[in-house]
């Protein structure tokens, strides 16, 4: 296997997997499926993506059961080796539950499922995903989630701010009540990043916007 491949994780209940796969290929990279029940070679991929959906029907807590699956052991190994890992929506929830990212996503403040376009601002451009974008860049992406309110304790928030781990923030209205308007965070090493908005749903103008394409340019 060549390390030019982009691994796309599939859990029972993942439903944005095909969109992510197509987005990767549309931007010129080769995508391959990675199944939740199987371990994989952590050295074989240029990057890994955990798509959105409702893994395990959000049983127990969103992302909790998927985070403890065999494939996530390999994702942890890959992350430790510095392989870039992107989580989108439920993928964000899984990465938080797995301990690869700090914090947790809880029910939206208004207690409803939200499906709308939001404005985002790039707080720290150090991520592998969206490398063409500069700090302060504003983009517009769709969100679709019930548990999208990012939560950390005040001490942990300060640590995120001090370490530059806040990746994206909501610009203007905060749709879900997340702490410090956070829409996406990174780990300390910056190779693991995740966000609630769906870049794969905005890669062509006919989708309503193409700002998400930058996330799939490898």
């Amino acid at each position: 296997m060549s390390a030019s491949l982009i691994g796309v994780l599939r859990f029972p209940g993942t439903n944005c997997d095909r969109d992510v796969f197509e987005a990767v290929e549309a931007r010129g990279s080769k995508a391959v499926w990675l199944w939740h029940a199987d371990r994989f070679d952590p050295r074989a991929y240029r990057a890994l993506i955990l798509p959105g959906g409702f893994s395990y029907g959000d049983y127990l807590r969103a992302g909790a059961l998927a985070a403890r699956s065999p494939a996530m052991t390999s994702v942890r190994e890959a992350a430790a080796r510095g392989v870039p890992v992107l989580g989108i929506c439920n993928g964000f929830q899984i990465l938080c539950e797995s301990g690869l990212l700090p914090g947790v996503l809880i029910r939206n403040e208004n207690r409803r499922f939200i499906d709308e376009w939001v404005d985002l601002e790039l707080a720290n451009p150090q991520s592998f995903f969206g490398r063409g974008l500069a700090a302060g860049a504003r983009i517009r992406l769709p969100i679709a989630h019930a548990d999208g309110r990012y939560y950390v304790e005040p001490d942990d928030l300060k640590r995120l701010q001090d370490n530059g781990q806040i990746w994206w923030t909501y610009h203007g209205e905060n749709p879900n009540g997340s702490v410090a308007n956070i829409a996406g965070v990174m780990n300390e090493a910056k190779n693991v990043g995740a966000l609630m908005p769906h870049p794969e749903r905005a890669i062509f103008d006919w989708m309503g916007g193409a700002d998400g394409a930058a996330f799939f340019d490898f």
């Binding site: 127990l60 059961l65 403890r68 914090g103 947790v104 809880i106 207690r111 939560y151 950390v152």
Partner: protein, 78 residues
């Protein structure tokens, strides 16, 4: 041996289900100071020694059943 695991949201601000149920009770004329909603998990373990069973249940709770950022848990022998 059966062990019950009671998982509760740590702060009222995190308990969206509790708030929703509380509102519905109030809207229907029921007097309630507050309402909190948690989760109850019953583990049926092959372990027969009560102390060891509690220890194993604790490990399982910490492995997956609760998230310390937002929840607390209590164990009871059933």
């Amino acid at each position: 041996m059966k062990i019950g695991v009671k998982v509760m949201p740590r702060q009222e601000v995190l308990d969206t289900q509790g708030r929703a149920v509380e509102n519905t009770l109030r809207q229907n004329g029921r007097e309630v100071n507050s309402c909190r909603v948690g989760r109850y998990v019953v583990l049926d373990l092959p372990e027969t020694d009560p102390a060891k069973a509690m220890e194993k249940a604790k490990e399982m709770a910490e492995f997956v059943l609760y998230n310390p950022l937002i929840e607390t848990f209590e164990l009871e022998q059933l």
